[in-house]
Symmetry: C2
Amino acid sequence: MAEYDQDQTIGGTTGSVRVDFEPIGRRGTCSCRQTLLQCAHDLGIGIVATCGGHGTCGRCRIIAVRGQLSETTSVEHELISLHELENGVRLACQAMPLSDCIINVPAESLTASQRIQIEGLQATHGTDPLVTSHKVAVSPADLNDLSADDQRILTALSATYGIKCTTVDLEVARDLPHILRSEDWKCKITTRGAEVVAVGPWPAPTLGLAVDLGTTKIAAYLLDLTNGETLGARGTMNPQIRYGEDVVARLTHALSQPDGTKELADEALAAINDLADSLTRDAGVNSSRILEVVLVGNTAMHHLLLRLPVAQLARAPYVPAIAGSLDIKARDLPLRTAKGAYLHLPPNIAGFVGADHVAMLIACGVSTASDRVLAIDIGTNTEVCLAADGRLTTVSCASGPAFEGGHIRDGMRAAPGAIEHVEILGNEVHLQIVDDAEPTGVCGSGILDALAQLATQGIVDAMGRLSADHPRIARHQNMLQFNLVTPDERGGRSALSVTQNDVRQLQLAKAAIASGIQALLQHASLDPSQLNSIIVGGAFGSYIDIKSAIEIGMLPRVPLERFTQVGNAAGVGAKMALVSDSARLNGITLAREARYLELATAPGFMKRFVDNTRLAPFTLQGG
Amino acid sequence: MAEYDQDQTIGGTTGSVRVDFEPIGRRGTCSCRQTLLQCAHDLGIGIVATCGGHGTCGRCRIIAVRGQLSETTSVEHELISLHELENGVRLACQAMPLSDCIINVPAESLTASQRIQIEGLQATHGTDPLVTSHKVAVSPADLNDLSADDQRILTALSATYGIKCTTVDLEVARDLPHILRSEDWKCKITTRGAEVVAVGPWPAPTLGLAVDLGTTKIAAYLLDLTNGETLGARGTMNPQIRYGEDVVARLTHALSQPDGTKELADEALAAINDLADSLTRDAGVNSSRILEVVLVGNTAMHHLLLRLPVAQLARAPYVPAIAGSLDIKARDLPLRTAKGAYLHLPPNIAGFVGADHVAMLIACGVSTASDRVLAIDIGTNTEVCLAADGRLTTVSCASGPAFEGGHIRDGMRAAPGAIEHVEILGNEVHLQIVDDAEPTGVCGSGILDALAQLATQGIVDAMGRLSADHPRIARHQNMLQFNLVTPDERGGRSALSVTQNDVRQLQLAKAAIASGIQALLQHASLDPSQLNSIIVGGAFGSYIDIKSAIEIGMLPRVPLERFTQVGNAAGVGAKMALVSDSARLNGITLAREARYLELATAPGFMKRFVDNTRLAPFTLQGG
């Protein structure tokens, strides 16, 4: 968040401020005398304005997440309810930015919907859920059969299905007498281990919810626990983003405010519950049909959601309060599920290698039995795991937000209009743009491509210096930039470029990842060529051109067929843990066996990191 | 409660009302023009009045639980805080009863303290608690040891003590990082099965709370879980009594009011928490030292406390929602204990045979292995269990409140002033009075003695008719009564008597118990002479003269040495289940093996009941 806080006064002195449109992640400099609709238009972001911005249609609703906007207008008071106004809802055609700000543009206000990556690889996996439902018919209570209601169903489960349950959840027990009698003593009993976790009418679906709680995005999946089928998938922005974009900013907020952790927990919880509501509504069922939840996230997201202390996580040696898996009642958070449902949280490995990485390993089938496999989950924080010689070793690399468009002048996420692939042929630039829309900005894979192409063609040297010797090189505010789209090609709007500063950001990100991989290989005395498989995951990792990543030395140069790009593998792993008890146990085993290698204490790490900023092929010794 | 509701208008028409002084249970008719202090004095109840009833000392505080009193006076507004006034606190020297009412006289307002039976038999039992504490020292978290805090203590428990825990309670985990660091990585870990339920400084006591939640009284015991020692015992009135004296009245309240169950649960919970606070304060510790709670009560008390539905318990066939044992977090009620502490509730057997009876069986060592043992727990409801031929069979008898002084004109509980034993020698009556105080009323054992003596001497016939042919027989309000204490002997106050109506009440109670015992013996084809042991428990059962009970045919005529009278066996059983996991498991086994015999469906029960109203020796065929 530093980039916002520092510039907080810019609006007052220069008349221009920095506006961050989320969740698409497009940032830009805007004038304080422009409406947000104009700002968005200038940046190339399509906000719905049926009336042409005249303040009559009320379609261009946005939410002010952070920063100061101009006073609400009479038009807004007419078109927006008081309750909405209190929650920061504004019309983009009316509101002007008075300070640096973060603006949330809801999906319904965007002309094109964002590509939210909620589909991961479709791993084949068995369905052996811990939570199962059974139709049970019991004899009515009368003077000849005076058994208690709980004993009646426990006995029937044992007699009919051989299921030995010993207890009924107390909240479920409170409904049991009514349901048994209203359903004429025939009902659906849902069990989890030795516990009855739900009683209801038969038939009724037995659903589960898998959640990937990311720092930026939250993905949720509704599954049928009886067959493992995914009934729906939805994604949303993590609303905690108002307190900072990365994990460190969130931890800082939690520690600096008396109720900081609770605020963050409540934000995430509300978003997850909204996703659960939407998914069940789409499926035409009530959220009380959700009988189990599996949630994965990085260790900080995990701790904040559970309101666990984070002081020890925010400072060296960055130790989690809880690494073991947890099974708690979903109602204790509270999640909107069946009353007796559990929330299972797979284990974390370390302070910066969380359950989301464990879920990726589950999804990709990585285990101690894997033969020299490297699994990389690229994000603001990049986790890497090496499976070799019966051991699992992980590192965490502070790769920063560059690959997600952060700290990049024209950066954005992979939303419509994002330049996602770049090819430079002489003076020509060929671009691939998400949804073939008008270009709005550059997402991570586009920046990576551009950098690799610039390096191959000598437009940028190994030290990362842009050469002035190319027709597309321009100078803007005393800094060189390579124009992917020139002002002419954009009809007079600002160029979309890779700036000298963007190259520096990429170098740092690249160096972090390469250094982590090197440390793991050196620790295991392996040469990159000995790797049989490299799995690249994460929202960014699944779209990048592996050749480009090899070109700049971020990834080792091994034959391309050894690489596999997976989508949201963490989400897939969460789904597997939801429908398969053996996958869940596998995650617990993985986390117990995995060793965490702290890069800060690895010998010569700083030198290696600096060497790795060079744009040169990956070597074991560094760039 | 019917006796109060029916007479609700008496005060208005006759100027006299019925006042029930609790918890001593002394009831009497009082004038609406008398203060409650005078009423109490006339009934022989000693209420503290240092100033002689002039309204200056403020010591005679009472609480109006039910019914209408005169307006508060200026004296009361001076001596009682507004908050107290709102909670029904009055001065007995100021308030006059305007309708039938229930008055709670707190212990500090009584001149003599009530004998609250909190000590039961001191059974010898082993200490093998489920909850144990261990001193654990772990290495500090630093860059060479990055384990999460939970893994750090789980590993130490395993390495140091061979204890395999897998999880830390979430609430405990929230405190874990702070405690580990503030205690220099040495602390006390308390485990329960595979779960860590507390983390704190070392050393510190590991305490448990055993609670016997009776319909009338609540007894609580504070124990040291490390050695099984009882550190303190306290009793109090069950404040639910304001909603009715017996189980049926409580269930009726729960079902007739929208929040009825919650009101009753809150009343009981507050009283239990107050007892826990008092016990820990007496022991000089904080209630957060309580790391496990075991609570026993009858099935209705159990259901109301847990806010389980009771509609099916209140109507035939009287089925519990939950009979199985429960282990829930004490904080979920919430009980004031350590954050991670559990509440264990032993199993119920049937709608009218609850966990308190199971606890009695635990305490008395009754099991399927017992050789022809009869265990009787006498109360408003009397539970009887027969162990014979490898089987446990129980019945429940609606014996009514007569033995606790209810529905008896001069009845009261075994408080100071209660006539507890009676011997009639010709025209003389020899009385034994609790605490050798001035006689105030007659408690259950006294009434039983009186009836046996009257029967033996032919003053009452087998049909229960009092004969007019004795100098102590008097007629009052057109009803015969036998004066235990004449008005002359009481200095002009009303006689203390056994009335014709009292005899009828005793006949019903006696018939209920005898019929239950007969049904059990017939079901097992046993003659009473074949019983090797008869255990008699309950607050009343531990004080009665067994000879008297045999004389009127309530208990079978077997040699006296085969009888054992135990005190609050349910409380002892709760304590055993608290400090001994094997005792707890024994309770679960007992409840599973016990069969419940419904008397209403036993052949010829009504005839047997009527026959048993005869005051004649116990036979298998009935009186």
